[in-house]
Amino acid sequence: MTFLVDLPVWAAIPVCLLLLSGSAITLAGAIGLVRFQSFYERLHAPTLCTSGGVLLIAMSSMLTFAVLQNRWIVHEVLIVVFMIITTPVTLMLLGQSALYRDRAEKSTDVPRKTETAKADPGIDL
């Protein structure tokens, strides 16, 4: 734990602020997951974790190790890029499958499929 002593104060304060705000945003996203009423509202909550939380916490980690220079910061960059690419795909597929299931059960809460379309739900990106 001795390496953190070398971190100057001007770097330590933004690191702490980024870390705390990132985890607060993550917590808010998870609270939204509990509080929102319907599935489609809950679909918005994890984007808060991935766009806000991951970005801020990875930035604080990058800042720490860029200043200390005791390891490469490649992993954080890869994690951020990967989260940005994958989250929309996951949420889109989940939304589509939820819509498909609700329609299959003839739920009245979701809009009906337009008439001219085929019966097969197909993955249209």
């Binding site: 945003i25 808010a28 996203g29 609270i31 939204g32 509080r35 929102f36 009423q37 319907s38 489609y40 509202e41 679909l43 918005h44 909550a45 984007t47 808060l48 991935t50 766009s51 806000g52 490469w72 490649v74 960059v77 890869l78 940005i84 989250t87 929309p88 795909v89 949420l91 889109m92 939304g95 589509q96 819509l99 979701v110 809009p111 499929k113 337009t114 001219t116 379309a117 249209d124 990106l125």
Partner: protein, 162 residues
């Protein structure tokens, strides 16, 4: 050349990713990464992705700037909605939006943008009627989503891809 390297940019990106993950540029890793990236781009040929050209880098930069600004703003807005004391916290709704975009890659990019922004989620796009179904978290502020999608994103995406 085209036969051996069907997607040169994809192969280069995969090689770069491999070297970054391994954190070395030794000849063995470069050889292994090259073999992997070339064989994976052959696998990509079987998926037959639609090709489109990037025309205007300037418009792409403007799009990126406006997307980053929107994501930051809607992060704050959703944060407020989550922590508000009202008893159903938000009034959400399904919104139909008409699209005129044709390019597959542009549509995929639009889907990623709309889903990454915390306030909106892409649900379904119908190719025949060209209607897009999105779910909007907070409709209380009375924004016109058709005009937002058309003016803010679709125009720039058309400039970039078509």
């Amino acid at each position: 050349m085209r036969y051996w390297f069907p997607y040169p940019l994809l192969s280069l990106l995969l090689l770069g990713f491999w070297l970054l993950v391994n954190q070395s540029v030794s000849p063995g890793q470069i050889l292994l990464g090259t073999i992997l990236s070339v064989s994976l781009s052959w696998a990509m040929v079987n998926l037959e992705p639609s090709k489109s050209r990037l025309r205007r880098p300037g418009a792409a930069l403007r799009l990126a700037a406006s997307v980053i600004k929107d994501i930051a703003q809607s992060n704050v807005a959703v944060l407020g909605a989550v922590l508000s004391r009202r008893k159903p916290p938000v009034q959400s709704a399904f919104v139909m939006v008409e699209l005129t975009l044709r390019d597959d890659n542009a549509l995929a990019l639009l889907a990623c943008i709309l889903t990454t922004t915390p306030g909106t989620a892409w649900l379904e796009y119908d190719r025949q009627t060209r209607m897009l179904l999105i779910h909007v978290l907070d409709t209380a502020d009375g924004k016109d989503w058709q005009s937002i999608v058309t003016n803010r994103y679709e125009r720039l995406l058309k400039e970039i891809f078509e």
